[in-house]
């Protein structure tokens, strides 16, 4: 059972307090999008062995969505950050680079 710190209320939450929301930083494809872009938005998700960015909601707490950067193999958490961003903030990317020098980066 993971522990993630909610960046909104600063509580280290047990996983049972949280609701998972899958991959973070997925761009919404609207009515003008082509079939491929819409499929990408609706169905296609990364499933990396290693560094991953995820959406979580502090459902049994403040109710806010946030993002977590973590390693799916070692369970290391590189940091959590506001969901109200289009890409991971620099301090998170730096934290990952420090721990995973070979990481290919956020793409």
């Amino acid at each position: 059972m993971l522990t993630l710190t909610c960046p909104c209320c600063n509580i280290a939450c047990d996983e049972t307090e949280l609701h998972p929301g899958g991959q973070a930083h997925v761009s919404r494809a609207g009515p003008d999008s082509g079939d491929d872009a819409f499929e990408q938005y609706l169905f296609l998700r990364k499933n990396p062995r290693g560094v991953h960015f995820e959406r979580w909601r502090h459902a049994m707490g403040c109710g806010k969505w946030f993002h977590a950067a973590r390693c799916t193999v070692t369970l290391e958490v590189f940091g959590t950050y506001s969901a109200q961003t289009l890409e991971p903030p620099q301090d998170i990317l730096d934290a990952i680079a420090a721990r995973r020098p070979d990481w290919q980066g956020f793409a």
Binding site: E15, P31, T74, E76, A83
Partner: protein
């Protein structure tokens, strides 16, 4: 025979006798006994029967690894099956019965299987019972189930209570042997918060039994002093009878404390489940001795050497007068010496190593014990009890050299560190060749949130088997710099172990078929070899094919032996064969402990509407709707459910009905961008709804499927009140919040789920307006409050919002009041409505009346694959809006497919009620020989208003096929025919609601 010795027994109190029964036989033991030691003291070696062959089974071990001695414990509401006698502490009045035998333990008809064992090899059930297919369910399984299985499931409600405890510690040390004590003692000086737990009732583990000396004093003295020191430290919590059950992500640890198993009359919870977040975990979980695989090693009287020693030293119980020791290592010599010290006979120590052992062997020889090196046991003699053994060369094929009379065989095949907790959360193992065991690989530990190791092993759990090694290893696990100053034991001079997986090495098929690996499940060396021969090369496959390690001990005793036999059969090294996966819990924990306090009324909190009490007092027949309970109908004394429903529908259509609609979701959406937001949430346009008006809206998920529906009311310029279905309130609110927070976070919108803040009552029927006028306070005439409008005011002196909306086709007002006034308004309406035969109605009448009007119901007409267009709801899908949730998905080719089944009404030709969910068949069959289908029933009722069955369904090209008749097969094979109709069965023009 086994008996109680006249003196000794470090754990028993001879001044406190305890009476108990086994299979109805009255026996006596002492305070401090386990049920195992007390049974042995009463010469009860035979305690059960094995699973497959019903072979007689005796006590093998003295701890949690015991595979055989499982009993039913307790009676009636305290009955519990599959309890290990070795971990059950004796108490006054204990009752135990043996399992898996018929008609009796001593004479078991199932034991005939042992003579058929040649015909019951590994995989027998898979091979034998696969054909014909249909026989499995109806013939084979019921018969096999009756003769298999261990204890019976309890039939009564558990009389005990259980609890969960949440805790945080900087360090948790699992295991209270000398390694655990050493680790806790060193760590405690640093001031961190520490929990030290031990699964048995005593601190110190095996050290006092083994006669170790620590810091120059007997182990027990050091243990007592260390515990006293730890008890005095405020940062240390000590728990006996508390087992580390499982290690999970990020330092989460489950521990299982047995508070009252040994004192069932105590007024306290029986078990406590500790839910711990640990900064660090040290597993000082010890090691488990391995059996040796020789022919007849399952006969009662063959025991682990360490267990024989435990029973003598701890409980002054002699398992037998003549104990043959058979070993491949030095430790078992301690057992021979302990037997000798107790005044019993050791006719022979059989050491498989050609050169024998070290200093302990010399001691044994000095005691006059015959030591045979390079030898093995060819076979054990005896049936329900060992009577002797035959001796052979370990290197040979089992030719008998000598035979020796004995009643106990104490065996030791070496020790396996308990690596379970290390492995639960990803810790990896490495094979230790000299000691022939898997040990935790410190370079591949379980890692926590910071990426570093959060579990370390200490002592025998690391493979450090002697006291000296264990103490040094435990110090290293906490702080390598402190190992010099920490407690120490003198190194012992032990000769190396020699791996022995089969005894004798060249044993033929006949002997191998009598060498047991898994005692409970009857898996033998020959079975594992057969599995390998048949291609089950993966250890996980071999396990499932043979059931090795799938018994209640989960392979604690024999898995390594089985792996070694498999590796021998595959000619692959043991580390390459690997281990099966270690899964929590370490030993079985009670279902009660897992449930904790969550049982009975508080298993799941019930949501109650403000009128709940009235419903309960007025014959409500309840229906669970989410966490709510809603009245399905109000069943008057003597009335049938169908009768009550019909009465409620008729009374409402004729005069006046009341529905408690408080459970409907009510979500307030407010802010400068609220209009823009509700336009995205709903398929239809909501931003242009005028204040004071209501509009029915549909909500889709992003993949286009209809998710929820309800009436939206515009409260003021920047406020919309969105009604949802009862079951949908929470997830619709979450859906709104998700998009607000993660997609349009710059929009100025606030949402609040007000569902429980308001009671809501639907006042329905031709007399609805009349009864509200009786209450007084508002003008609710047709002109003042037209259909699909709402207004605010007071009714009967209560502050209300009145929505003129209808889900029944009747003149209808839904009245919302603050929840605290809900019951008052309900009572006023009942009083004022008396003259109109006011009739509260339940959810079934609600459903019937909406179906008569052709209104859809989320969850009936929708199932997560239905889009609004399927339900002919195109009128509620805006064509003007650029975007809404689900709009893009509606453009996908499958959503545009003209052959999607569409909503129609269905009327049976004979007036009967169509079966719910029935399919309409079409001509032809599919590849499986099943009839093609062309539609299905989504809602179906008997209509009291029309006097016949009505239904709605989704049908291929349905709206274009009015009047066609479809065939709906029932489950009994008969067919009911129904005609396609308009889904609006009643008052198509809306004459009744628009008055």
């Amino acid at each position: 025979m086994s008996t109680r010795l006249a003196t000794g027994g470090r754990l028993i109190d001879r001044g406190a006798p305890r009476r108990f029964t086994f299979n109805g036989k009255a026996l006596r033991g002492f305070q401090g006994d386990t049920l195992a030691s007390a049974l042995l003291a009463g010469d009860q070696m035979l305690v059960g029967r094995s699973f497959k062959y019903h072979r007689p089974r005796g006590i093998v071990a003295s701890g949690a690894e015991e595979p055989n001695a499982l009993v039913n414990l307790g009676l009636s509401d305290r009955f519990e099956p599959n309890q290990r006698v070795t971990t059950t502490e004796l108490f006054e009045g204990l009752t135990a019965t043996s399992q898996n035998h018929w008609p009796s333990l001593d004479f078991d008809i199932g034991a005939i299987n042992t003579h058929l064992s040649r015909f019951l090899p590994a995989g027998f059930y898979y091979k034998m019972f696969i054909h014909p297919r249909s026989f499995w369910k109806h013939v084979y399984e019921p018969v096999i189930r009756k003769s298999a299985g261990l204890g019976q499931a309890p039939s009564e409600r558990d009389a005990d209570r259980y609890e969960h405890l949440h805790a945080r510690f900087d360090l948790v040390v699992v295991g209270g042997g000398i390694a655990g004590l050493q680790a806790a003692r060193i760590a405690a000086e640093g001031g961190q918060s520490i929990l030290l737990m031990e699964q048995t009732a005593h601190w110190g583990g095996r050290a006092p039994v083994d006669g170790d000396e620590i810091d120059g004093q007997p182990a027990q003295a050091w243990i007592d002093a260390t515990i006293a020191a730890l008890e005095a430290m405020p940062n240390v919590t000590l728990r006996l009878r508390c087992m580390g059950a499982g290690v999970y992500d990020h330092g989460y640890l489950l521990a299982y404390e047995r508070l009252a198993d040994h004192q069932p009359q105590a007024d306290m919870p029986r078990h406590r489940l500790w839910r711990i977040r640990a900064g660090r975990i040290v597993t000082a979980t010890g090691a488990i001795e391995r059996p040796l695989s020789f022919a007849g090693n399952d006969i009662p009287g063959v025991m682990l050497a360490s267990a024989v020693r435990d029973f003598i030293v701890n409980y002054a119980v002699s398992p037998g007068d003549r104990v043959v020791v058979v070993t491949n290592n030095d430790d078992a010599y301690r057992t021979a010496l302990a037997v000798k010290r107790a005044g019993l006979d050791v006719p022979c120590i059989i050491d498989a190593r050609p050169a024998g052992g070290g200093a302990l062997m010399e001691q044994a020889r000095q005691q006059g014990i015959r030591v045979e090196t390079g030898k093995g046991i060819a076979a054990v003699q005896g049936g329900k009890r060992v009577t002797g053994i035959t001796l052979c060369q370990q290197a040979g094929e089992g030719a008998v050299i000598d035979s020796i009379d004995c009643d106990v065989v104490a065996m030791s095949g070496g020790w396996s560190p308990v690596v379970h907790l290390w492995s639960h959360c990803g810790g990896k193992l490495t094979w230790d060749d000299p000691r022939a065991c898997f040990i935790p690989d410190p370079n591949r530990p379980p890692t926590g949130a910071d990426g570093s190791a959060f579990v370390a092993s200490a002592g025998a759990a690391s493979g450090a088997l002697t006291a000296a090694e264990a103490l040094a290893d435990a110090a290293r696990a906490i702080d390598p710099t402190k190992s010099a100053s920490a407690a120490q034991a003198a190194p012992s001079d032990e000769a190396p172990l020699m791996p022995v997986w089969i005894m004798p090495h060249g044993a033929g098929a006949k002997l191998r078929a009598k060498m047991w690996l898994d005692f409970q499940n009857d898996v033998k060396v020959s079975d594992v070899q057969l599995a390998a021969q048949e291609g089950y090369e993966s250890v996980e496959h071999a396990k499932r094919y043979t059931t090795l390690g799938m018994a209640t001990d989960q392979g604690k005793l024999s898995n390594i032996n089985g792996l070694a036999v498999l590796s021998g059969a595959l000619a692959a090294p043991i580390p390459q064969v690997g281990t099966t996966t270690f899964r929590p819990p370490y030993t079985p924990i009670s279902m009660g402990a897992i449930a904790g306090e969550a049982r009975g009324e508080i298993f799941q909190p019930l949501r109650r509407s403000p009128m709940h009490q009235w419903h309960a007092e007025n014959h409500a027949h309840w229906e669970p709707v989410g966490h709510w309970r809603r009245p399905y109908c109000y069943r008057r004394p003597g009335e049938s459910i169908e009768g009550a429903v019909s009465r409620e529908v008729n009374a409402t259509r004729d005069s006046l009905g009341l529905l408690d609609a408080s459970t409907l979701g009510k979500i307030l959406v407010k802010g400068p961008d609220a209009g823009r937001f509700v336009d995205m949430m709903y398929t239809n346009m909501m931003s242009n709804l005028a204040p004071g008006k209501c509009r029915y809206g549909l909500m889709c998920s992003e993949n286009g499927f209809l998710m929820d529906d309800g009436v939206v009311a515009r409260i003021d310029d920047d406020t919309w009140l969105c009604h949802t279905t009862t079951g949908g309130a929470e997830h619709v609110h979450a859906h709104m919040e998700e998009f607000l927070q993660t997609e349009w976070w710059d929009w100025k919108v606030y949402t609040a789920n007000l569902t429980e803040q308001y009671a809501q009552i639907a006042v329905v029927g031709p007399k609805a307006r009349a009864v509200l006028e009786r209450l007084g306070g508002m003008d609710l005439s047709k002109d003042s409050l037209p259909f699909m409008h709402w207004t605010e005011g007071t009714l009967a002196g209560l502050p209300v919002r009145v929505f003129r909306i209808s889900f029944s086709g009747e003149l209808s007002f839904e009245i919302a009041v603050p929840a605290g006034h809900g019951r008052a308004l309900w009572d006023r309406l009942l009083e004022a409505g008396a003259e109109f035969n006011v009739t509260p109605y339940g959810t079934e009448a609600l459903h019937i009346m909406r179906a008569e009007k052709g209104f859809i119901m989320i969850g009936d007409e929708t199932d997560g694959t239905v889009i609004p267009q399927d339900l002919n709801l195109n009128w509620a899908i805006s064509k003007k809006k650029d975007d809404f949730i689900g709009k893009r998905a509606h453009q996908r080719s499958h959503m545009q497919d003209p052959t999607r089944w569409k909503l129609v009404g269905l009327e049976t030709l004979d007036g009967s009620v169509l079966p719910d969910g029935a399919y309409a068949t079409a001509s032809g069959t599919n590849a499986n020989g099943q009839k093609h289908t062309q539609g299905r029933v989504t809602s179906t009722y008997h209509s009291p208003t029309l006097g016949h069955g009505i239904a709605m369904g989704l049908v291929l090209n349905g709206p274009d096929r009015m009047g066609e008749v479809l065939d709906f097969p029932r489950t009994d094979g008969t067919i009911v025919q129904a005609r396609i109709t308009d889904p609006v069965f009643f008052d198509k023009d809306g004459a009744k609601q628009n008055v």
